[in-house]
């Protein structure tokens, strides 16, 4: 049962049209940030207002929505956003990656490869990859227009000069279709290779910064690197303590106050599926 007094999916139709036009142009210009008139949403900035507005603009009554926060389906942010759309759009939700038609994510890409029938919506805190290097928007817009990304190369080079390696574990900058430098949102660098030639459409929404951008399906996405310092996705060298996976991205948990720790899958649905798989095979 949907909440009375709200339009379908909360946003009014004029806002949806404005966001939809921005999304179409974002898809036509892969990696380019499109300004849009982000609305105030019934949750604070930083909790996914950009992602929610994108999801609300594409969502239909037959969609099945999955929301993850750092890979988990059961955290406050994920549960609240799923409940929000159940209330204002009456849509079905799921925690199973394979069953979802739209997946809204904060800071992870699911381990299970996505299909052509799915859309991945990222919540983005800072859409401008050059933000920490050049604080002026007017200037970064010019740099994107000229495809002048020397600043970022110098930044990565300075890491190598000082530390011997590129010390960026998340929000690792990527080149989209060899034209635009793009922030992949604060996903771990481990997830960057999944963006490359992904079968699903990827949409990015930044509410506070009022920007939308996109990566169409089957588009080259290259993590910046150097010939002698190739990009390496970082992963803790352990197996998941619950499902035993040696390929998934792991969270480190402190288990007691005596220095005990455990590593478990960050993607809760992936971990659950692996736990159930041996049981299903045994039955």
């Amino acid at each position: 049962m949907t909440e009375a007094g709200y339009n379908f999916a909360y946003l009014d139709e004029a806002t949806k049209r404005m966001i939809r036009r921005a999304i179409l142009k974002a898809v036509a210009i892969p990696g380019h940030q499109i300004p849009f008139g982000a609305r105030e949403m019934p949750l604070p900035y930083g909790w996914g207002t950009g992602g929610i507005q994108v999801t609300a603009s594409i969502l239909g009554p037959n969609d099945v929505l999955k929301v993850i926060d750092q890979g988990a389906d059961d955290t406050t942010n994920a549960v609240s956003i799923r409940r929000f759309f159940t209330r204002v759009a009456g849509i079905a939700t799921t925690e199973v990656t394979g069953e979802a038609s739209i997946i809204q994510t904060r800071h992870r890409i699911p381990e299970k490869p996505l299909t052509e029938n799915q859309i991945l919506v990222y919540q983005v805190p800072q859409p401008e990859p050059l933000f920490r290097l050049e604080p002026h928007r007017a200037e970064t817009r010019r740099l994107h227009a000229l495809a002048d990304y020397g600043l970022m190369h110098v930044r990565l080079y300075e890491d190598i000069a000082r530390l011997g390696h590129i010390a960026k574990a998340y929000d690792y900058p990527v080149m989209v279709n060899e034209r635009y430098l793009m922030s992949p949102s604060p996903i771990p660098a481990f997830d960057n290779p999944k963006m490359h030639q992904m079968a699903a459409l990827q949409l990015f929404g930044a509410g506070r910064e009022k920007r939308i951008y996109a990566v169409p399906p089957y588009t080259p996405v290259r993590s910046l690197d150097f010939e002698d310092h190739p990009f390496r996705p970082i992963r803790a060298p352990h197996a998941c303590a619950i499902c035993g996976s040696t390929t998934s991205y792991l969270d480190e948990l402190v288990t007691d106050d005596a220095g005990g720790r455990a590593f478990i899958c960050s993607d809760t649905d992936y971990c659950q599926e692996r736990q159930q798989a041996p049981k299903a095979a045994a039955e």
Partner: protein, 191 residues
Amino acid sequence: MTHLSPGFADPVLDAQASFRAILEAMSRPGRIQRIEARITPPAPLCTAAAAALLSLADADTPLWLDAGDTVAEWLRFHCGTPITPEIGAARFALACGTAPSLEVLDVGTDEDPQLGATLILQVAGLVAGDGWRLTGPGIQHEHRLRVLGAPADFTAAWARNHTLFPRGIDVLLCAGDSIAALPRSVTIAEG
């Protein structure tokens, strides 16, 4: 006053479904999508072009069209969109007859390439699996698309449009209830 036929039966869900079809078309250039909404726009406007404008155009998007006064009145009523006689000022251009040259449309600027116009081009028919060879973002290997009644020299004009990237025009090809898209990022080779 002449009789106006209705727009979307369900303005919210029909617009959403039409947008998703257009988004799918734009994400996978050359793949043909169907518009489900049942609308009876005035001639010569076809269902797909009407659905695209009903779901995307409004007071913020000046529209240029060559479809005559009845269609202009219908769109002005249902979308509230201003009709402009100056094609260079249009965000959307609707071509039902002879297509305008891509060069006269606004292509945006290097800093704001998203200001490039969208051309809604009504053609005689769309056939998948044959004709043009499309490559680029959204296409894994190659998509084939035959456009019946495409403007003469369209592929040459498109090649010029493509070289402007990231500036440029995006095209929605509409025939009946079928729609396919050509985002500026796509490359067209004759089949």
